[in-house]
Subunit: 429 residues, 2 copies
Amino acid sequence: MKSSRLYEVCPAALFSDDAKASGRVLDIDRWLLRTLLQGFGAPKIGAALWDGENIVQGTATAFRMTVRNRITLLRLMLNPLLYFGDDYSAGNIEIQGGLVPFLETVYRAMERPGEVRRGYKSFSNLYRQGMNTLTGSRQNIHHHYDIGNDFYRLWLDDQMLYTCAYFTNPEMTLEAAQDAKMELICRKLQLKGGARVIEAGCGWGGLARYMAKQYGARVRAFNISVEQIAYARQRAKDEGIVGVEYLEDDYRNITGECDAFVSVGMLEHVGTNNYRQLGEVIDRTLSKDGIGLIHSIGQDVAEPMSEWAERRIFPGSYLPTVREMMEIFEPRGFSVLDLENLRPHYAKTLEHWLERFEANSAQVAEMFDENFVRAWRLYLSSSIASFSTGSLQLYQVLFSRRGNNQRPWTRNHLLDPAREESNRTGFDR
Amino acid sequence: MKSSRLYEVCPAALFSDDAKASGRVLDIDRWLLRTLLQGFGAPKIGAALWDGENIVQGTATAFRMTVRNRITLLRLMLNPLLYFGDDYSAGNIEIQGGLVPFLETVYRAMERPGEVRRGYKSFSNLYRQGMNTLTGSRQNIHHHYDIGNDFYRLWLDDQMLYTCAYFTNPEMTLEAAQDAKMELICRKLQLKGGARVIEAGCGWGGLARYMAKQYGARVRAFNISVEQIAYARQRAKDEGIVGVEYLEDDYRNITGECDAFVSVGMLEHVGTNNYRQLGEVIDRTLSKDGIGLIHSIGQDVAEPMSEWAERRIFPGSYLPTVREMMEIFEPRGFSVLDLENLRPHYAKTLEHWLERFEANSAQVAEMFDENFVRAWRLYLSSSIASFSTGSLQLYQVLFSRRGNNQRPWTRNHLLDPAREESNRTGFDR
């Protein structure tokens, strides 16, 4: 077993007292745990300390959280959102009855009047908004995306798409749903053969490949993840795909002109204080009649990410509200044409990922260690719960320059399976 | 001819020197007119003073503006956006070659770099944001909507819908497009028989009638326009429609519970400083799994309305950006599900209205006077030009409470002509 230097899922110094050393469960331990649960809106969950006895009287629930030692209990009191993650990863907290429904129950309880969640989150690390400089962004992206293509291959689809899929039917495969997502984006962008596309944040290059192969588009795809770019270039070469150029560079350095600007799953890493600059990049690259789409995780209410997710999983990340996303468009006078919230689709996508992840967890433990497996199990499970309870949203925002009249009258072109184009624009008189 | 007291389209005291009294056109007059055009981004239009000579050398254009006397020229220098409207209404300015394409040409020129338009608008009357108190709103709405049902009947469709229609095909009739709009809204709201609907700002009651007749919904429809409510009640009675109750009251006084909250063309009169309160009204009335839709004219960039439109046509009005609309939803934690921009549909709707208005202009002049006809011609024409050039947008925003999982996976249900409902929601696992 080797531990990834890149990926410290819980601090090496995290002290794990064992249950025996914690000694007998005292009244004050039970009081602390009850107080903690009250602070989270008293979710209907069972809870036990290291003696295994259910602490919450009179509740028969499907789920039980066991806190395995006193030091963990104290850490939870200190900073529950950070240490729940760290201590779950370290094996100091166990959940019986299913991690996803457990988290859904807790998240729903947190949403009750009184805004508990906002209170807990207010400890969080807003200072990190300053982290996404050109260098800071590279470090942040490196932390998550460069931990090994072999690892991501174990649980992503065969095109290596690490963003929300689109399930036109909830029974379809992940592969089919990722194809449907790419097709939906191409239709929203009204992509035509020879169209010049700029993609900001291209992951392992799947969408760029799709646009080039299916639509004959000429794509310049940007990414600062070293491993992703290497993979994308090799795969395009292996598959003999022409018309795609992968550039290892920051979105802020994008130049040239395009008919379509697309960014899928990058905005989460941009930071609100850089939205204006992203808008400037779009403004200097989009052609007069061009069209753009930004696809991003978001939220209803402006809140920082949970401290655990932000520290251990996605450093420098922030998930915007619709209002905040408008900071990209409004200063440059872009028109918002369409916004679609794909929240249920991300819950479903994550269920597929988690299922594949679990099927390969022994291999993941071999690549990293057991703490890593537990951390990623928690990250994927909590993401499912966040989308299913509505703590998180997935926005696709379509936009153009002001007064672009090259748009169809309806959304019918998004649904036509024969990919026929409407010749009518919104302003033929 | 009688002049409407309610509707003062230009101040009675507006001084109209005649061309003769203005005397010979001087060099300084020509310089003033050229300077004015420069300030508007030098649109490619012909321009003449009271001697009829084209002032802009070397341009052969399709349109010509003639300023008929010196006092009008001076007023235009003082406050072009206000006095263009007032003096056009008074007959002191004539446009040859078509008012709509003339205005489109000017609006496009105003959008060029340098932000001329914003500069001119900054004179405008932001203090009016304070006008939409309970009493102020009544006066403002009275000004526009109570000038006579007989007048609006001359140029609206047979259901008296005074909001953007939905043209699934640009050749369809206005009546069909208004039906399609109402159908689209009902589908977005996933309306079912017996659903309790609250409508804020119901106009002459057309949408409420449609929801009751076509879907068996039970609608409580609110409006503070006395004439509109009287019309709506009488018509529902005449047609024997049950399930609709029209209430003459302000949206801020709405109580009760609903499964669907809908507001079509009211937000324009609410004022941004009341958006939070509108969100509170929705929050206290919408059921747990309820869904809501707000349909409003808006704009890309936050700017006051032109002073003429705000003073003479829609007192107290303001057209929000998407960002500003979020002030309704974000403070109460609503989720935005879908946003559709119907800009081209409003240009087309207005073209139908203008055509019908012109066909009945003699009758309108009989009801009011010639200045009124000219003012409304300008209002309808400038609205067409605003939508066709993108100065204005039309947003439909669909929303629900956080975590409402009773939503279909796709938008296919919006397009199904047989009005079949999908039984699948976004979260059947």
